[in-house]
Structure formats: C-alpha cells, structure tokens
Symmetry: C2
Subunit: 341 residues, 2 copies
C-alpha cells in the first residue's frame, strides 16, 4: 500500500528566484507551490520600489508562463535606511506585500543593508498603516559580534519593533537559534518566524565539523545541534508562529567554491525532505500546517484551493548541479515525490 | 634606525613535513629553526615504531642536506590503542622523543586514531619510564560532541593522564579554547601546551563569519574571539607552560578546495607574524621565551646556541601557493624578516 499525503498546495514564504538564466533554471522548482514570496536582493540592482517590483514580477511571470508554471509570485521590496514612507505606500498599492531588511554586509548582496535600525521608524509607520509585512534577516550587523551570536544579539531590535509597532506584522526569517525560537514564542502575535528546510537538517558540524563544507554554508550559519533541536521541536509541535520559508538560494557551484558565498539551493528537495521529517514523528497533519496553512494565515491570505499529493517511495535525489547551480542533498534518497492533483 | 630582535634560534614543537615532493617543497621553511618536532601522521603509512621513525628521519635529513638546511628533526611516533610498551621503549632508544595521540577521525590521517583512551595506559607507563613525551591532539573523539565542544570535553582525559602519570610529560597540542588554557594552567608541571600562530590570529569568524573560508580551516577549528583572546593573553604574558608549535600543515590548494581538508601552512610566515604580535605589546622578551626557551625547557633540551636576528620592515608575504601548497597570510605584510647570524 502506497502511503500518501494530500495537502493544500504549499506556499514558500522566502525564496530567491534571481534573474535571467538562473531564473530560467530555478523557476521549474516552484511548480508545486501556490505562492512564493520572492526576495528582493538582486544584484546589481535590488528591488527598491513599486516600479522595480512590477518590472521584476513581469520578468518572473514571463518565465513562469513559458514553463507552464502555475505559481503566484508575491513581491517584496528591500527596506533600507533611506526608504521613504511614500515608497512604501506606493509599493503596497502596486501589490507588494512585504519589505525585507538586510543587515549591512551579513549575507548575499547586502552591501546596501541597514546598520542603524532606528532610521527605519518612519517607514515602519507607513508599513503598519498600509498593512505591509516586515521581513527581517535577523543578524545584528555589529562588526565585533561573532557569527554564532549575531542572531541572538539581533533579538533586542526585533523586540523594539514588535512592541513599538503592535499592528505591524513582522517575520523573523530563517531562525537558527534557540534564543530566537524562544523570543518569537514570547512576543505578541504580530511576530512570526520562517524556518528553512536546511536549518531543520544541518547543524554547525555539517559545516565545519569534519572538513570545511561550503555546500552546507548559508547565512545565518547552521548552529550547534541543540539549536537545531529547538527549531525542530517548535516546528514539529505545530506552533502557528513558525512556518515554511525555504530561503532556497541558488548559486553557481563555481562561485560557492571560489568565494565561499552563503546560500543553499534546496528548492528541488524541500517538500520531500520536510514531509519525511514530520512523517517520521507521526505528525503529518503538522506538515500541512507548516507548509500550507500557518504562513498563509499570518500573511492574511486564503489557503490555496488546489491540493497536491506526496507519495512515499525510495527516490534518488537529482544531480549535484542543475544548470551549474549546486543542489542540496544530491545523490541521496528523498523518500517522497510530489504529484499535482 | 632599524629595529631588530636577536634571539636564540627557535624550535617548532609541532610540524608537518610530509614526504616526497611535498617534503621537498616545505623543507626550506625549516631553515630558521634549530629543531622541529616532526609529526608522524603520514599517509598511507604512519610512523608507528623505531624503524618507521628512523626511515622517515633519513628521508628528511636527505632533503635537508640537499637543501643545505641546518635543522635537527626531532622524531615522533603515533601512539595507538595497540601500541605495545616494548614499541615505546625501542623507539625511545632509537632517539624518538615523543609519541602523538590522534583522536579517531578528528583530523588529517587520523582514521587509525584512538577512541578508548584507557587502552593507552600500558604504553603510558612505558613512556613515563623511558622519558618519552606524550603529545595529545586534544579533541574528544565522541561522535555526538559538537565541533566547538570537542576540546573542552577532552580535558577530562587530559586530567586523568596528568594526575595518573605525574612523571609523564604531556603536551596538549594547538590549544584553541579558554577552557584548555585554564586547565593547562591549573594542572601540575608535567603538563604544557603548544600554541600555533594561526590560532593567535584567526577566530571562528575568519572561517565562517563572512563567507566560508576553507583556507582558514584547521582542526581544532578556530573558536570565537573570546577564546583567541584567552590564548593570546597567556602567551603574551610569558607563561612557561605555553610554547610554540606551529602545526604548519601543508596541503595542495586543490585538495583544500575539493575536500575542505583541515590544515594551514604557516611555516613561511610564522616567525615574522609572532614577532609582530609580541612587538606590538612591547613584549619582545616573551617572544624569545615563547619560540626558543619554554619548549626546549619542557622537552629537557638545551637552548640552541646559534642566534637569529629579525629586522622590522614592510615586507610583502609570498605568493598564495608554493609548489601548489596553499600558504597562510599571502599577499599581505609580515613586518619582519629573519636573518641567520
């Protein structure tokens, strides 16, 4: 008897689609999702306002249509120290649903990120007014803060925003520490967090424990095992403040090797790996909540009407690169395949 | 006026010379040292007994002589769970001065390392009897111990050995944590530690803080800054329990990139970088103690009679690879050059 899981079509609330040739390569892996929240940190020209977002959306939709992909891109803009309230309001009118803050110099294409978070206050007022969601890369930009402490140190900023802007919906993206998990649990309901599939699987030892493994390197870097366990625990328990955002971040393998850049391309295996994680703990219902329900609820979106079915099987994952992009979990078994209903 | 430092010729109490072509390439960088303690973890055939050590010494001396290098190799053997007391005694008679323990699977060529440290007791008795020094790679081999905790967790083994074998001289190699520094300070005088130049310069952020930098990857991995500071403090203070062992470990750059293997080739820049570290704190006298005095005293060797002089200058370091081997601190300024007196 084949074991199956039929769920509302999932959403990915944190996805890097890139542009041009790379967008062409990664687009097919969005086919299983109803909606994807598209990150704005393009290089050299980030998405900063309504016009940028509309132009980028057009590029994405053209590729989706050419590939017969029926997935809705949800657009974001980058929120910087000099983003004007008017820019926020215009972007919201143009359908942009979230603004993303990168701490300066902490991750891919974040040179124009934020150092002084107080400078964001006027824009946050506008976001609260127009109902735009704030997405935070939660690492403190302080130069002297060690890489393992940057997320925990960022939490005071999160706290200020959460209590100071009670109507602003805030997502702490890709949480990696027990401190962040605890803080998000404690903060009011305007705060939630996304969790990636790789942070549910990897810990610091997978990066530097037995050889230096750049293909497991991302920002925030995976933390020691006790932190991974804390994330896994809150996610498996079905806490509605924690939902899926893959942070799937394609990089050419040559760039990973040459520059050691941060980011893991998980899109080809994310749903099967997550399904297995919940399945092994007999928590399949929470799988659907994690990938299809809690995120939509937090963003104020209806559940996707369409459903997908995952079937359990022994299935080899794909090759280690796709179009030159290094893939996560290559050459292993993923246990589930996804079928459109 | 040129600033100079004239010191007894240093010793390096932890050095990887390798064999064959790589030995040929790295041998010239031992020229400034009176003596170097040569590590036994050759692949595929480690140095396990007197015969191995004599054969390896012959190979080294042939290369030294061909390169007119006037440096004495001090030989070690690898101590494994099945090393017999007789093997220890024979090696000591053949001039081997130390036995090195690798924890199984923790570093380069350590597949035949130790898991059960209690099995070493008979060999330790023999070492105590014949005056052979025990060199410990201080990381616990337990599979479930996170990479940042392995040195601290190893300290209970060190403690057992130190108190159980009061006449056995024990060196905790390449310390990287404040816990190890504190423990070595507290233990009786039969325990000392070596410190590398790279662990005085690098911290965890230099490995995974801003990109994943395999060229800064070694075992034990560099720890967060507070640990580096603890090591720097005890070394600059001139604590005689802490002396120089470079752990300079040459790897072909292609191997570093392809496999992420552990090890940093510091030999070409070690003495200049150390001189600068002490110079900047007005502690030049402790520089000589660290590189030329404390190690010799612990090993019961006379100071080298010859002296070398370091002159302060703005000097570019060498290329990023030498004979295909990735070098530390390439393309930077090293501040000192070494002259034979």
């Amino acid at each position: 008897m084949t074991e199956t899981l039929t769920i509302h079509q999932p959403d990915d609330f944190h996805l890097h689609l890139r542009q041009g040739a790379m967008l062409q390569t990664v687009a097919p892996f969005t086919g299983d999702y109803g909606r994807v929240l598209v990150m704005p940190n393009l290089s050299p020209n980030p998405v900063l306002n309504a016009a940028d977002a509309l132009k980028y959306k057009e590029e994405i939709l053209a590729v989706f249509q050419a590939n017969k992909i029926n997935c809705q891109p949800l657009m974001t803009i980058q929120l910087n120290e000099d983003t004007k309230p008017q820019t926020i309001l215009e972007a919201r009118k143009a359908g942009v649903i979230a603004a993303k803050v990168y701490p300066k110099g902490q991750t891919t294409n974040s040179a124009n990120g934020v150092e002084d978070y107080d400078k964001l206050f006027p824009a946050l007022v506008a976001m609260e007014d127009c109902g735009m969601v704030l997405c935070l890369h939660g690492e403190h930009p302080g130069k002297k803060i060690g890489v393992l402490d940057r997320e925990a140190k960022f939490l005071s900023i999160l706290r200020d925003f959460a209590w100071g802007f009670r109507k602003l919906r805030i997502v702490l993206e890709h949480v990696t520490t027990m401190e962040a998990v605890e803080e998000v649990c404690k903060l009011p309901d305007n705060v939630a967090a996304t969790v990636t599939v790789h942070h549910l699987i990897l810990n610091l030892d997978d990066v530097i424990g037995d050889g230096c493994k750049v293909h497991n390197y991302c920002k925030p870097v995976a933390k020691p095992e006790e932190h991974r366990l804390a994330i896994e625990r809150v996610v498996l328990a079905g806490n509605p403040k924690f939902f899926f955002g893959s942070d799937s971040a394609p990089h050419l393998i040559q760039n990973k090797v040459d520059t050691g850049c941060a980011g893991i391309f998980t899109a080809p295996v994310a749903l099967p790996l997550l399904a297995e994680l919940f399945y092994r703990k007999f928590l399949e219902k929470n799988f659907e909540n994690f990938v299809s329900v809690y995120g939509a609820q937090f963003y104020g979106l209806p559940l996707n009407e369409k459903r997908i079915t995952l079937k359990r099987d022994v299935i080899q994952t794909g090759p280690s690169t796709i179009g030159g992009i290094e893939t996560f979990y290559a050459g292993r078994v993923k246990n589930w395949s996804v079928y459109q209903n």
